[in-house]
Amino acid sequence: MMQLSRWKIIVVVATVLFGLLFALPNVLPANVRAGMPGFLPKSTLNLGLDLQGGSYLLLEVDTTALQKEKLNNLSEEVRRILGNAGTPPQGVSQDGKSVIVLMPADKAQAAFVELSKQAPSPTRAGTADINVSRQGDQAIRLTYTDTAISETASGAVEQSIEIVRRRIDELGTKEPSITRQGTNRIVVQAPGESDPEKLKNIIGKTARLTFQMVNDDPDDNRAAGEGAIPPGSEVLPQKGGGALLLRKRIEVSGDMLTHAGVGTNQNGQTVVTFRLNGEGAKRFAAVTQKNIGKPFAIVLDGVVQSAPNIQSAITGGSGEITGNYTIQTANEMSILLNAGALPAPLNVEEQRTVGAELGADAVKAGQLSTTVGFVSILVFMLLTYGLLFGGVSIIALLVNAMLIVGAMSLTQATLTLPGIAGLILTLAVAVDANVLIYERMRDEVRAGRPLLASMDAGFSRAMVTIIDANLTTLIAAAIMFSAGAGPVRGFAWTLSIGVFTSVFSAVLITQVLLAVWYRTARPKTLPIA
């Protein structure tokens, strides 16, 4: 082993140079980094949210609400189809997975035929989204297939991610990361964003805009006042208090919007202006023409924003929403409307925010403790094994530290606060390989072997142990990486990188250095024996 093969030297020198190249940007000032030619690596350590400050949000798409809403829509659709066919149902109810239509016994077969014809709105050829079945004499059951349910849910998550992205981009947050987790979760990481409430406000709003007619029928309103809401109507709260009876039918909805903005009306109030697409404009014109003089409600996320009387037919496809907006709230609302509505509510399941100042404190504490830990290991090794062998392990350790920093910069792995602890522990355990090798050499010398053979045996025998010992750490790290979340993953990653770099530097660097020493000094005895 003390015979230095050329490839070993090449590998060692190349790795050290590469490590230096990738670790270097971390110690260069930002302006020097910016001025470097393009082929040189510029990326520095990627600090986690706990070190640079920022917000982490774990959102869950409320697929139950989504399904409930689909059933509501289906109920309305069934009423409409059967009403048009001249066979209105006796009752329409839901049981969580299906819509059950109750018909007079003599009309049931006709209604079943009508629904079977209309209901399957196939998204793929040959398969239906809804199963229609007869149950007894009077009941017809319409059930969404499992495929349809899971496809809707999955589509909703994809769509939500896109909409969340658009909203955050509008906010001007730098480098947000928005990723899907599991089947129905979304992780939002916004470094530097220390105002999580604003972020949550803008992300969490469904932003579903609808235009519905107000039900101004006095009989219906009296009934609703007594708690008997007429079918086809609903009671929604009004912004600023009170409630209104509305017709459930959505005349125009937010997905027909092409643009929203902030404006001022003739009374000097701040309003949100909007423009509709062709389809929306046509429908808006038809509705307003038919209902001049009647109140018309603008509803956002189930809250009536305003319900002005229609003055005249609005044919241009644009209008405005009034409702006590400040410039800021109007602006937020137009961001929401422009980004589009979420297909389902998003619930915040987990939120972690660290202020930038606290992050900076953590970095300082991390630097200080890493330095203290590092220096104490160096001193300890020097004290234990003396100038030569201690020095060799110190050089190996320095190379190791540099390689870790380089590798973490290269892979853009996130360095977290626990990751710093991982780094220190890695450095401490890295000397273990050196200690194993040295102790093995001492054993061999004591057993009476000649120096060169002892040194060779030290490496080859210790190698088995080193690999066993490091593989176990790697197993622990792999488990942390797969099972852990956030900061724990950072820790696991630092630990894993450390395993590889420390085996490399402790074994190869030490070997090359000791071989050089052996060649030049031609020693007769082992200094640590």
Binding site: G366, G373, A428
Partner: protein
């Protein structure tokens, strides 16, 4: 005098195995005591452990105030918001060692946590005379996520121990694997016991610390086992207890040096790493000491127990079969 290696005894001859009975008894007692401390009172999910919001769910808010904080007023403001189980305390930071100006509050926000947190923040801002920027840390963990994190953490610990068993079984023999796993359980139980006794917070990072301890303890055990296996081949006639003593003594200097290095480095972390890393590094220091102890007094004697104090013929035969393959 220098280097230190010169004053360390060249060859130690401690009779570890002779004491293993007492050590074993103490270990069993401590492990049972630790388990008891960690589980009693058996309130889910964490029992006697001081669970953080990672595993229990809830909200943590930290903020700094311009002058000394009136904890009583803040407590009242929290209570007025109707949140569950409110806790308010000051905490020390490097620039505020007395903890007068830094406040940490925990509570269970109940339904719709996202909205509740906003309300609570507004209430705190009013009584503490601070603005939104004063909040340095906000953590909200919903009940769904916390129970997932908890089961995830427990599964991770069991998976780590299970994989170690497989690895040692594959690299050595079954009784080595069992010895190592008993040692791992020993370390994990005692660590839990320490966390319970000193009321350290049990959180995601604690699980990471325990996993690291498992890694380290294994590392230590493997080094002893490696030597043990080698010596079993080398001294075929030597009784098992002598081989165990010999192997531990031969690897002792390495065990001590590596353990000391790790503890020194982590000591720096505990002292200078700040509040966030304190618990983490204390747990790891304790675990490393434990891991060193357990590889000497738990893992190796278990093998002796398995062999009944004698080296059975079949064990030896197996070793000889394994020999050439692993030497190649």
């Amino acid at each position: 005098m220098w280097p230190l290696i010169k004053i360390l005894p060249v060859k130690t001859n401690f009779r570890f195995v002779a004491f293993s009975k007492y050590a074993g008894a103490i270990s069993i007692l401590l492990a049972i005591g630790s388990l008891f401390m960690a589980i009693y009172p058996a309130t889910p999910p964490c029992g006697g452990l001081n669970c953080g919001i990672d595993f229990k769910g809830g909200t943590l808010l930290e903020f700094s105030t311009p002058g000394p904080a009136n904890l009583g007023a803040i407590r009242q403001a929290l209570a007025a918001q109707g949140v569950g189980d409110p806790q308010v305390q000051g905490f020390a930071t490097p620039d505020d060692p007395s903890g007068a100006r830094h406040v940490s509050t925990r509570f269970e926000p109940g339904e719709n946590p996202a909205q509740k947190v906003e309300q609570v923040k507004a209430a705190i801002e009013k009584v503490a005379g601070v603005d939104d920027k004063a909040f340095t840390r906000t953590e909200v963990v919903g009940p769904k996520v916390s129970s997932e994190l908890f089961t995830g953490g427990i599964i991770a610990l069991l998976a780590a121990i299970g994989l170690m068993l497989l690895y040692i079984w594959f690299r050595f023999e079954l009784q080595f694997g069992l010895g190592a796993v008993v040692a791992l359980f020993h370390d994990v139980f005692l660590t839990f016991g320490m966390i319970a006794v000193f009321k350290l917070e049990f959180s995601l990072t604690t699980v990471a610390a325990i996993l690291t301890i498992i890694g380290y303890s294994m590392n230590d055990t493997v080094v002893v086992f490696d030597r043990l296996r080698e010596n079993m081949r080398k001294y075929k006639k030597m009784p098992m207890r002598e081989i165990i003593d010999l192997s531990i003594n031969e690897t002792l200097s390495r065990t001590v040096i590596t353990g000391l290095t790790a503890i020194i480095a982590l000591g720096g972390l505990a002292v200078f790493g700040g509040d966030a890393l304190y618990g983490f590094s204390i747990i790891m220091i304790f675990g490393i000491a434990l891991g060193t102890y357990s590889s000497i007094y738990v893992a190796a004697p278990i093998i002796l127990l398995w062999n009944g104090g004698k080296r059975k013929e079949d064990t030896e035969a197996e070793v000889q079969i394994l020999g050439p393959a692993s030497r190649a």
